[in-house]
């Protein structure tokens, strides 16, 4: 390695450190004995995990957020895949409109959307309801899902569907038996994306929080603003474990699917 690439590597690893340090440094604070955040943490306790799991409000928020995120993932993948399919297999003028609308939720600041939705949902009684959150989160997650699915869909040769139809499949059967299995990994990862976006959405939740139910990020925001305790790092620890589990699971799944396509398979 010459000096130039040494320098480049050093710079890049410094940047990576910048990215990682704040994410990592917060984790040990979850075990701090103090009821505020310090680094390095003082003492050791699992109290804050108990505080999280033992508190019905945190648990309620967790369940509420999980429900919203799951539904958001479902709605975006189904709606997004339908739209993508239509687009990739036949665009036209409607496609341009689609793309214009798709980019909207990315560039329009979430604060603007949040305020607009707050007003609208108050009028329609959707404020604070699961449906309201799912609508709002679906809008902001949609571009990511569409992109992920479209990337897979464009790489599926349309001739495969033609082939299936020439074998006697209807278009829907061809989609179900040929296209869908091929884009499934991307559909799933799009759904996962949507889940995370919804699960971690603080701005819209900030405005939409209803009287009875709050999402986890909104609870966390309150905690940070009102009374920042090591419950926040404890949640971070839990989320990190969860995401590691998901990532490892996904990797295993991928390896398994590689094996089934490479090795003998019966239907």
């Amino acid at each position: 390695m010459n000096s130039r690439s040494l320098l480049l590597n050093a710079y890049v690893y410094a940047v990576l450190a910048f990215v990682l340090v704040p994410i990592i440094i917060i984790l040990p604070m979850a075990f701090s004995d103090t009821n505020y955040l310090t680094f390095p943490p003082e003492g050791f306790t699992l109290h804050w995990f108990g505080d999280f799991f033992g508190n019905s409000r945190w648990m309620k928020a967790l369940r509420f957020s999980a429900e919203i995120a799951a539904l958001t993932a479902l709605v975006t993948t189904v709606v997004g895949t339908m739209a993508c399919y239509a687009l990739v297999r036949g665009a036209g003028r409607i496609g341009a409109l689609f793309q214009g609308l798709l980019i909207g939720p990315i560039v329009v600041p979430h604060i603007a959307l949040a305020v607009a939705l707050y007003l609208f949902f108050q009028k329609t009684g959707l404020s604070g309801t699961v449906a309201g959150y799912v609508f709002a989160h679906s809008v902001i997650a949609m571009p990511f899902v569409v992109f992920t699915v479209a990337a897979a869909l464009t790489s599926v040769d349309p001739a495969l569907e033609d082939a299936a139809m020439s074998c006697g499949a209807t278009r829907f059967t061809a989609f179900r038996l040929v296209t869908l299995p091929l884009i499934l990994p991307n559909v799933l990862s799009g759904g996962l994306f949507a889940f995370i976006i919804s699960f971690d959405e603080p701005v819209i939740a900030f405005f939409l929080a209803g009287i009875r139910d709050k999402t986890l990020p909104r609870m966390m925001f309150d905690n940070i603003e009102q009374n920042l305790t090591p419950v926040i790092p404890a949640i971070a620890v839990l989320l990190t474990c969860l995401s590691i589990l998901v990532l490892v699971g996904a990797a295993l799944l991928r390896r398994a699917s590689v094996r089934t396509t490479a090795a003998p398979a019966q239907d």
């Binding site: 001739a159 495969l160 299936a164 074998c167 006697g168 396509t261 490479a262 239907d267």
Partner: protein
């Protein structure tokens, strides 16, 4: 042999087929009658409408005019999955998430054949394309040629009476292509199925088909057996599209042609494929029929040698006639050892090698 095969191939009739995309007529009033069990090649330059005809046959495109009859039944409005036609595409269209045998069994699954029966018939079809034992592999574990053979097996497993192929070999390299050509011919004669085969490779069309249909800009130019097409092309387009062809502008007086350099050549009657009015015409001769002759020979035309290109089996000799018209001859390399660019030699056209067409050069 495949199971339950009893029927012969279907007869197909295209009647006044037209397909427009906006103002463009991709297929323009094409009528072809294909006999039961015939092997027909559709040949033409890119964009000439070959695929569009095939897609109309398969049901993927709805013609804007005309009819498609299969065994006398009008199936113009039927969707693809109801036509019971086998089809092989240009690119590898095996389903990558299914094993080879599952791929081949797919059409049977669509036809609700029981599973064990499906597997049995799929294995039989794989045997027909000489791929027994490959059933459990994933498609991408096969070579390109093997993949196309699986596609072939999938297209014939349900005993369709018609098999459509859209440039099935164009993605293969030369050796594999030749091997597959023989394979497909063998299958065709074994199964007695009607085959419509699209290609833009003239050698392929000539080698494989009973008859070749030549298309240009959506219109049918000629439909004949290979030998007739090569030896007596109907017009200059067909003549120059198939194989190489010297085109020499001449004046025709009804019996004798006069070259730019002044030489006159008497034409035998069979040189006219279609009647040619006296006046400007084009004399067409295939390079491999051109002979090197002595200067003293009656039909000797002096040619100034421009280039001698050694190409293994044959040597391409390029030169100019007296009036500057380029002329090419392909001679066995064994005879070409002492040819040098810049010298002058003499060429002659055997009477049976000449064809005459009216109008200017193509």
């Amino acid at each position: 042999m495949l199971d339950g095969r009893t029927a012969d191939g279907a007869a197909i009739s295209l009647r006044g087929l037209e397909k427009r995309f906006g103002s463009l007529a991709a297929v323009d009033d094409v009528s072809i009658d294909i006999e039961s069990g015939e092997f027909l090649a559709l040949l033409g330059p890119s964009g000439s409408g070959k695929s569009t005809i095939l897609m109309s046959l398969a049901g993927f495109e709805r013609p804007t005019k005309g009819q498609i009859l299969i065994d006398g039944v009008d199936c113009t409005p039927l969707p693809p999955h109801k036509r019971n036609i086998g089809m092989v595409f240009q690119h590898y269209t095996l389903f990558p998430h299914l094993s080879v045998v599952e791929n081949v069994a797919f059409p049977l699954k669509m036809r609700k054949v029981a599973k064990s029966e499906r597997i049995r018939r799929a294995e039989a079809a794989l045997k027909t394309v000489r791929l027994e034992g490959y059933g459990q592999r994933a498609p991408k574990q096969l070579s390109g040629g093997q993949q196309q053979r699986v596609a072939l097996a999938r297209a014939i497993v349900y005993n369709p009476r018609v098999l459509l192929m859209d440039e099935p070999l164009s993605a293969l390299d030369k050796n594999l292509r030749e091997e597959m050509q023989l394979e497909i011919k063998r299958l065709h004669s074994e199964l007695g199925i009607t085959v419509v085969f699209v290609t833009h490779d003239q050698g392929e069309a000539l080698t494989m088909a009973d008859r070749v249909a030549i298309l240009k800009e959506g219109r049918l130019q000629q439909i004949s057996p290979a030998r007739e097409l090569y030896e007596r092309p109907a017009n200059l387009f067909a003549a120059s599209f198939i194989g190489e062809m010297n085109q020499i502008p001449v004046d025709y007086d009804g019996g004798v042609v006069r070259l730019g350099g002044g030489q006159a050549i008497a034409l035998p009657q069979e040189a006219l494929v279609q009647p040619v009015p006296p006046g400007k015409a084009v004399l067409a001769v295939r390079p491999e029929r051109v002979r090197l002759v002595d200067a003293t020979s009656a039909d000797a035309l002096p040619v100034r040698l421009r280039d001698v290109v050694y190409a293994g089996a044959g040597t391409l000799v390029i030169g100019d006639l007296a009036d500057g018209t380029e002329i090419r001859a392909r001679i066995p390399s064994a005879d070409s050892a002492d040819l040098r660019a810049g010298t002058t030699l003499h060429m002659g056209f055997p009477p049976g090698a000449m064809l005459l067409y009216g109008g200017g050069a193509a």
